[in-house]
């Protein structure tokens, strides 16, 4: 059975655990080497946001089935201060300064689906999915 997992993220080393778990699940599901790198990259970006802005949270890695298609789901959750303006946070350079395409908008482009819900005081949940083709 594919190894779905929840990784608690409070510090930098937890990001590695989440990446490794994501990479392992992606490999089990049959994602190729390049796609596994992109998945690990997206996990890095969302997990790094948890450490940097919320202090603690979790990254949940799960298998997806839609009809005959398989995918990977990555959900990053925290109960931090939340984001005032989600639309602004999804614009390039909002949290990353000079690095166009890094951060949340960067992760969005690496995945097939990307949703974010957040509000002041409610914490932030980022849901990303990538399908095997």
């Amino acid at each position: 059975l594919p190894s779905d997992r929840v990784v608690t993220v409070t510090q930098g080393t937890d990001i590695n655990v989440a990446r490794e778990a994501g990479r392992a699940l992606a490999a089990e599901l049959g994602f190729g080497a390049s796609e596994r790198v992109l998945i690990a990259t997206a996990i890095s970006e969302v997990a790094r946001n948890i450490v940097e802005f919320a202090g603690s949270g979790e990254v949940e890695l799960a298998t997806l089935r839609r009809g005959t298609i398989t995918g990977i789901s990555i959900i990053a959750r925290d109960r931090g201060p939340g984001i005032d303006d989600v639309e602004a946070a999804m614009r390039d350079g909002f949290t990353t300064g000079s690095g166009l395409g890094l951060g949340l908008p960067g992760s969005r482009r690496l995945m097939d689906e990307f949703e974010i819900t957040s509000g002041p005081g409610d914490g932030t949940t980022v849901t990303m999915r990538k399908w095997l083709r």
Partner: protein
């Protein structure tokens, strides 16, 4: 982080990962690439540090799949920003199309206003002149004067419309950026102003004028307006006008100095506005559009225009034109 620092950290990460295959090390590779990107380093910088690392015999002897994994991990970060630029480029293309369309609509409008209003105005002027000729001396003297004023005003309005047309054209852009020898533009402008120059016994000189990347027509328009103003606003004594250029870090500053009447500091803000006149039209003929055209053209090119002046002691107008990328050595790595 210098390129050397980048190379050292990359080589250390490569050898550590090759010996233990730890995810934490791979994560460091990713963070290193991310840092390199925010510093503006390119893919070729990464290629260089990778080449330097694998030249070491110790690393060459290591597990090559792991060596490739570290490189791929770094490339992941570059891939992410690459997708960002691709998307930003698409957005910009859309915005640019919109901008071009709105610009061309605006220019059509300004052209129509400038052009279509000329004809009825011409007719008004014609009837006024006919009226004057037909009834000269037959009405009271006051009427003769009013008729003559009407004609003068109609002519003035016609000049203003012509100015508006040239103002609309100056916003048109379209001309590509090419190598332009400023000195040849200077020569051409002087040829156009030859009559005024000889009438006023003016001396128009220039310092060392370089070849820069810009739009020739725009530069011509700016220099033509500034030099012609310098000649116009120097009454009495023969005008002495000097054009010079200086290279800064990010732009060229081109200056036109004269020994004219100077500008009152109080007029500083008005002087660049359309149809604003600081001096009476009687003493200095013109419609008050030259400097507005200069400002529009200069700002359209991403530059600034300003002046230094003392009343009675002459003025120097300065404007900047950005140095284009082709004029500088390429950014590192590319």
């Amino acid at each position: 982080m210098t390129q050397e620092g980048f190379a050292q950290r990359y080589a250390r990460i490569l050898s550590e990962y090759a010996s233990n295959g730890d995810e934490g090390i791979l994560s460091q590779a990713y963070e290193l690439a991310r840092e390199a990107i925010t510093q503006g380093r390119g893919l070729l910088d990464l290629a260089e540090v990778h080449r330097l690392a694998i030249e070491q015999p110790a690393i060459m002897a290591m597990d090559q799949l792991r060596v490739v994994a570290v490189l791929t991990e770094c490339l992941g970060a570059f891939e992410m920003t690459h997708r960002g630029y691709r998307e930003a480029n698409l957005t910009l293309q859309g915005l640019n199309r919109e901008l071009l369309r709105s610009n061309s609509e605006l220019s059509v409008f300004a052209h129509a206003v400038g052009h279509d209003l000329q004809q009825p105005l011409y007719t008004i002027d014609l009837y006024t002149q006919l009226l004057g000729r037909r009834f000269q001396g037959k009405l009271d003297p006051k009427a003769d004067e009013l008729i003559s004023r009407m004609s003068v005003t109609a002519k003035h309005m016609s000049e203003m419309l012509a100015g508006l047309l040239s103002f609309a054209r100056s916003g048109g852009g379209g001309e590509p950026i090419t190598r332009v020898d400023i000195e040849s533009v200077f020569d051409q402008v002087l040829l156009d102003l030859a009559v005024t120059v000889s009438e006023k016994n003016a001396r128009v000189t220039h310092g060392s004028l370089p070849t820069i990347y810009t739009r020739r027509l725009h530069l011509t328009q700016i220099l033509q307006n500034l030099i012609s103003n310098a000649l116009k606003f120097t009454p009495g004594t023969p005008p002495i006008v000097h054009v010079s250029a200086e290279r800064g870090a990010r732009d060229w500053t081109i200056s036109v100095a004269d020994n004219g009447i100077g500008i009152d500091p109080a007029d500083r803000d008005r002087i660049f506005k359309v149809f604003e006149r600081v001096k009476s039209e009687h003493d200095y003929p013109g419609v008050g559009i030259g400097l507005a055209v200069c400002r529009q053209v200069v700002e359209g090119e991403g530059g600034r225009i300003w002046f230094d002046s003392r009343v009675g002691a002459g003025s120097t107008f300065h404007f900047t034109l950005p140095v284009q990328h082709d004029e500088t050595p390429g950014p590192r790595g590319w």
